[in-house]
């Protein structure tokens, strides 16, 4: 019974959201507000139940881990941004977060992006085969795209040729991204229609 009610509710809300395609209406507004409210509520409850309670309150209560009060304090003063008089306090937490983010980011970026990607561009161009052609395309693509983003000199002569080729590679990449995005959006539509047909409509008729 509970599952059936859930399916009907989900189907009704799906239709409410899709009704926007006809025009803006109260059903859409209701479903949209409900979604935002439930997501926020769920997030809040989940954070309390799975983060604050087991990782802060419980260890302090049972193991007397009072050191956890320090991160809790930094977390709380982050909320001081709401009160203009003490908003400056939040900068301590932000500084802490930015410091960690920057520290981790720099090492992570160099180790995880820059070096492996440069290594992946140093490719052999020996032999007359498809692999060589593929490697050549990668090398030309990387160099010409970098040329396109080289702004210290006017794009004339060889620089102009290079940047034109570079922008062609960029456009192809945008095209691939757009194609994938279309596929993503259609997948979501398929997912919803699959639900409406096989979880909602078909069971109604098969029971009847």
């Amino acid at each position: 019974m509970g599952a059936t009610l859930g399916v009907w509710l989900a189907a009704a809300l799906t239709l409410c959201i899709y009704s926007f395609l006809y025009k803006d209406n109260p059903f859409y507004k209701f479903a949209e507000s409900l979604y935002v409210g439930i997501s926020a509520g769920y997030w809040l409850v989940y954070t309390y139940a799975y983060v604050i309670e087991p990782m802060l309150i419980e260890p302090i209560k049972t193991n007397q881990e009072f050191v956890l009060i320090i991160p809790a304090f930094f977390g709380i003063i982050m909320l001081s941004r709401w009160f203009p008089k003490i908003a400056w306090l939040s900068r301590w937490s932000i500084a802490f977060t930015v410091g960690i983010g920057a520290g981790l980011g720099v090492t992570g970026y160099i180790q995880g992006f820059l070096i492996p990607q440069v290594k992946a561009t140093i490719l052999p161009l020996t032999g007359m085969n498809m692999l060589t052609l593929n490697n050549l395309i990668i090398i030309i693509g990387v160099i010409t795209t970098l040329v396109y983003f080289y702004f210290s000199k006017e794009h004339k002569g060889m620089l102009k040729v290079g940047s034109r080729i570079g922008v062609t590679f960029i456009m192809i990449a945008f095209g691939a991204s757009f194609g994938y995005t279309v596929m993503a959006r259609i997948s979501l539509l398929i997912g919803r229609f699959y639900f409406l047909i096989y979880d909602w409509i078909v069971p109604i008729f098969s029971k009847g």
């Binding site: 997030w43 799975y50 990607q117 991204s177 994938y180 259609i186």
Partner: protein
């Protein structure tokens, strides 16, 4: 011809929505069979999992929510089927709070199919905040972040966790990603700890991960619903993603037609404007 073009450019977009809806619904109802030819990045992902031996640990990170469910949930289910069939031990963790129920739902559903035991053959560690610090920290000791599983039971009370401490004990990591968490797995778990990684991404994010695949930083790449359909085909268990592929193909054809018509209309309009202005 000009009249037709004018009508086409002024068409109410709601008619287009109806056409797209029909092109999706009809194949879903009649289920025409479309050949599904798995792509190399997905075959590599499949091979990486398939090459593992019974008892090996597969860490699965659920980093998406309901908005990406149609694309990634079928892959999660297919991956779990593959793991249980090969007697691998899936260790699930979640980096997106709203993805927690999706991961749990898939795990409970597939575990039932294979009659495997929670805590012995698989475990669900649930969500913890601060994924960057966590991903770095797991390199030393997973217990610094996950003392308990998603229900709040101590992970040391489960035999599946006996020999799992850090990435050295994880044979492969599979990240199901709707955002940038996949980059963090590659940057830290992959680059710093040499963790073998497979990424399954929403179709929107997939093009941004191909360079990881090309550089060998990830061993396989599963992109969107098509990637999920490929994986379902490879494990020989066609399911929701395969069912959606016919509709996907028809809609793609329709969109290509729309693009061609749109361009024809654009050029006609441009030519007509040129004529009225007395230009070329």
């Amino acid at each position: 011809m000009n009249d037709i073009i004018k009508k086409l450019t002024a068409i109410d977009r709601r008619y287009l929505f109806i056409i797209i809806a029909l092109v999706v619904v009809i194949p879903l109802l009649f289920k025409p069979k479309f050949p599904i030819i798995p792509k190399k990045p997905v075959i590599d992902a499949y091979k990486a999992v398939d090459s593992l031996s019974a008892g090996d640990n597969v860490m699965i990170s659920v980093d998406y929510d309901a908005a990406s469910m149609p694309e990634l949930q079928p892959f999660l289910e297919a991956l779990l089927r593959h793991c249980f069939k090969k007697e691998l031990n899936p260790i699930m963790l979640v980096q997106w709070q709203l993805g927690a129920p999706l991961g749990t739902r898939a795990m409970e559903k597939i575990a039932k199919e294979f009659d495997v035991e929670y805590g012995v053959d698989y475990i669900n560690l649930g969500y913890r905040p601060g994924y960057t610090a966590q991903i770095v920290g797991i390199g030393k000791e997973i217990r610094d972040y996950f003392i308990t599983d998603y229900k709040g039971d101590l992970i040391d009370s489960f035999s599946v966790m006996d020999d799992i401490h850090n990435y050295d004990d994880i044979d492969i990591l599979v990240g199901l990603e709707a955002g940038a968490t996949g980059n963090i797995w590659v940057q830290y778990a992959g680059a710093r700890y040499n963790q073998r990684i497979i990424l399954a991404l929403t179709a929107v994010s997939a093009p941004d991960a191909y360079f990881f695949y090309q550089s060998g930083q990830i061993e396989g790449l599963v992109g969107g619903m098509k990637g999920s359909a490929d994986y379902e085909t490879l494990i020989d268990h066609p399911d929701v993603a395969v069912a959606g592929m016919a509709a996907q193909s028809f809609v793609h054809i329709l969109i290509i037609v729309f693009i061609i018509l749109g361009n024809i209309a654009y050029f006609f309009e441009k030519r007509n404007k040129g004529k009225t202005l007395g230009g070329k």
